[in-house]
Amino acid sequence: MMLQLLPEFAALGALLILFFVTLGNNVSDRAARWITLALSGFVLVAAIAAQDQSGLMFANSYKLDTYSQFFKILMAFGLMANALLGWPLRSVPTAQRSEYYFLFFAAGLAMMLLASAFSFLVLYVAMELLSYSLYTMVGMRRARTESIESSVKYIIIGATASAIGLFGVSYIYGATGSLNFGALIDSLKGTTTHSALLMPGLVMVLSSFLFKLAAFPFHAWAPDAYETASSPVAMFLASVSKLAGIAFLFRLVYMVKPYMPEFETVIGILALITMTFGNLVAFRQTSVKRLFAYSSIAQAGYLMLGMIGFGDSAPVAVVFYSAIYLLMNLVVFAVVLELERYGEDPTLASFQGLYKRNALMAMALLVALFSLAGVPPLAGFFGKWLLFSSAAQGGHIWFVAFAILNSVLSLYYYLFLVKAAYFGDVPKEAVSLDKGGSRIAILVTTIAIALLGLYPRVLTEYLTGLNFPRSLLP
């Protein structure tokens, strides 16, 4: 038991440690960060150590399987990367900075719970825990009015979404008499004519997760939150926090899909709306963080398209894409953070002449952007290939065609950034970026993106080996 829940316990431990460390305000930001880094490394080790665990726990309400364990590894990695790159919290008052790391692990724990949640109770608790941590993180940047605005919007939308979800859960409970997914599936399996309560219940639950993915119609919070939150927080939101939503939503969709095919169409349409909205509105952004918020909305759209893909290929596709999605956003926001050292909230203009100010940053940005746009031979292309081909195999070729059109569209604003970074010359006032501490990390991640594109089998074959379909279907 201790061993099985190693990652969770690790996160919990880290959470407690930081809680006590940061009780008094005497601990410096730097120290807190190093502690966090060490602890997150520990969590990562724990997650890797526990990768082979499996089984149902706590009265079948908590499920360990290859899927959840791999996502936990991803999350742990994401946490560590955030601890490494997501620093310093310039725009957060010094007093609160150390609390950030506390919340950081609270969110991490919640995400891991979500990855394995097999009962709506666990789901609800974990989701609230995650949400509260994120609300607080976004709200930490007190100085700026917009930051407050975004956090209040965030919490309003979030609370609504979870309320809707909860209401849905109540209906599912009514229909199945249990909060357990197993029971849900059994009742789905059993009768061809489901209880009238089941369908609306599921729809409501799903929609509450669209909020976590920042997908239509619950996307509206993302741009504000990303733009106004302090950049490490934005990075956290864009990279790891997405994983939780993906992990759980896909688990649910994957279980329900076979019995309720109409869900495929619903999710597919929502996916198209999401990616189109994200890509088009991104055209008009000048604040880079806001632009990436929209871009990540679009990415969520692609992921949702993959979720309704063909049964056997979809899991690998979704997991692979979430992995590289994590990498790409880490790189992008790492660059944003580097730029932020000189003036907050970078705009397109502040990318001017990046190639001369810091060649590595420019190249990393270039790779990440083209990868986000899904251009060969980068990982993004291969991820998209997996998602789209899986969806096409599932019989949604028209959705796929539309999605491809979308990724061509998206190129337009990614090229804007490339243009800013590479064409033209450095503006007078721009300071040359000295060797940022995160260079190595960025370089490694960038190379990873390139390699995963050229030789994706290193990951895909591992994932195929994990045989998600079996572990996902109870």
Binding site: V375, P376, S389, A401, F423, P456, E461
Partner: protein
């Protein structure tokens, strides 16, 4: 153990890219040296391959195949047949001459050559790689660097041109991507291997009729098929000299090659079914380009539209689909490749000398820069399809073959011989003859080194005009095979 010559050819520029990364900033001599070295090696290898190719056996040769994505049945599978060989040779030539021409690039040299070699790698890869997925990847590698190359080192209205070019080409490859996915799942042999797909794909006619247009339009955009050509003149004009050379000389051929290989070969019935439409678009392009070129005052625009016209010929030959026409189309790819390469390198030289591309500001250059002028005139005459130069055999075969299938369209396209002569001679007269223009005193003829590129190209134009069998013997078996 045979030498993996094709892999070596791809590796040359690829290694060049890697090496260049480690050259410290400011060491431009080294950068240029590396670029020149790899391109010379690549050229030698290509010529060697050309000589080593077993003409009697024909078909695919120098085959190599290694596992790449077993899960998807996608392998690293390279081979060349008559067509691939022709185009690899072309690419090697243009690469070499392009690098020589690029020596005049004077800022951000390292980045420039990295991107340049990257582009060339992509082109080589797409020409010799027999795996649809891998081909697509190389294809994109070949297209993307254009954005930076034009945007950074370009001239007129470069950002607009670069953006338009990239978006249009990627929209095209988007179509191809859709077709790629459909093809993969429609074939009962779940594989990307081109030869397997072609031989045992078993695509139903109705399916072919759906997918072929995707391929034709997707790749056709890159081949600047009318009316999806508008990116290309702008792109040519904006791009730096050597990039225009590669772009018009090789990249557009990549589009035509895609149509031929992954359109016509994979979906023959679809090709036949859509033949008339394709041929109409192509013939329209031939005449249209030739007529619009007559209005241009910017040399590069003139060449750009003449390329539209000439690529129209290629597409027309492909659409006609008779052995002769296919043969001519491939031949035209090659001859137009060296021809435009020569054009652009010459124009680039004039531009460096005079900082103007407006033909009305030129005059009497023939006596100031006899060498380059002669080269340009040779290219121009080849462009109007003068016998004895590489353009003629191609146009001859295309029209001969096309007439069998589309007599009327051919008769519509043939007058382009006159239209071509009209604009080309107009330019020759304005630029090279007549009284000397004001700036001519400070113009001086080209140096041996960078001149060698132009002379080489001119020599090839004459060689392949006199002895077309050097290529057509390689292509003919393929063209015959295709019809079976």
């Amino acid at each position: 153990m045979t030498i993996p010559i094709l892999s070596l050819i791809i590796l040359c520029p690829a290694i060049g890219v890697v090496l260049l990364f480690f050259v410290p900033e400011g060491k431009e001599k080294i950068v240029r040296g590396i670029a020149l070295a790899v391109s010379i090696i690549a050229a030698f290898l290509s010529v060697w391959m050309y000589l080593a190719y077993d003409r009697a056996a024909a078909g695919f040769q120098f085959i190599e195949q290694y596992a790449w994505m077993p899960g998807l049945n996608s392998t690293y599978h390279v081979a060349v047949d008559g067509v691939g060989m022709t185009l690899v040779l072309l690419n090697a030539i243009v690469m070499l001459t392009g690098v020589i021409t690029s020596f005049s690039i004077d800022f951000r040299v390292k980045e420039y050559f990295i991107l340049f070699l990257l582009l060339v790698t992509g082109v080589f890869g797409s020409f010799i790689c027999m795996d649809f997925l891998l081909f697509f990847i190389f294809f994109e590698i070949a297209v993307l660097p254009m954005y930076l190359l034009i945007g950074i080192w370009g001239s007129t209205n470069r950002e607009y041109a670069a953006l338009k070019l990239t978006i249009m080409l990627l929209a095209g490859s988007g179509l191809v991507f859709v077709g790629l996915i459909m093809t993969y799942f429609a074939s009962d042999v779940r594989t990307f291997d081109f030869i397997t797909l072609r031989d045992s794909g078993g695509f139903s006619p109705s399916f072919q009729n759906i997918v072929y247009p995707l391929m034709f339009l997707g790749f056709g955009t890159l081949a600047a098929v009318f009316p999806f050509h508008n990116w290309s003149p702008d792109g040519h004009v904006a791009a730096p000299t050597a990039v225009s050379m590669l772009h018009a000389g090789v990249l557009m051929k990549l589009g035509a090659y895609g149509v031929l290989r992954y359109g016509i070969e994979l979906f023959p019935q679809g090709a036949v079914h859509w033949g008339p439409v394709a041929a109409t678009m192509a013939a329209g392009g031939v005449v249209y380009g030739a007529l619009v070129a007559a209005q241009q005052t910017d040399l590069k625009y003139m060449i750009g539209y003449s390329s539209v016209s000439h690529m129209g010929l290629v597409m027309f030959g492909l659409a006609a689909g008779t052995p002769l026409a296919i043969n001519g189309a491939v031949y035209q790819m090659f001859s137009h490749g060296i021809m435009t390469a020569l054009f652009f390198s010459a124009v680039g030289f004039f531009y460096e000398q005079t900082h103007s591309r407006n033909i009305n500001e030129y005059g009497g250059l023939a006596r100031k820069v006899p060498w380059v002028a002669t080269c340009f005139i040779i290219a121009g005459l080849a462009g109007v399809g003068l016998p004895g130069l590489a353009g003629f055999p191609a146009e001859f075969m295309i029209f001969m073959g096309g007439f069998e299938r589309f007599p009327v369209l051919t008769l519509i396209a043939v007058p382009s011989l006159v239209f071509g002569a009209f604009y080309m001679l107009r330019v020759l007269q304005k630029v090279f003859f007549g009284p000397e223009a004001g700036f001519t005193p400070k113009v001086h003829d080209i140096g041996i080194f960078s001149g060698s590129a132009r002379v080489l190209l001119a020599g090839l134009i004459i060689l392949f005009g006199i002895a077309p069998r050097l290529l057509s013997d390689l292509i003919a078996p393929y063209a015959m095979e295709l019809l079976k």
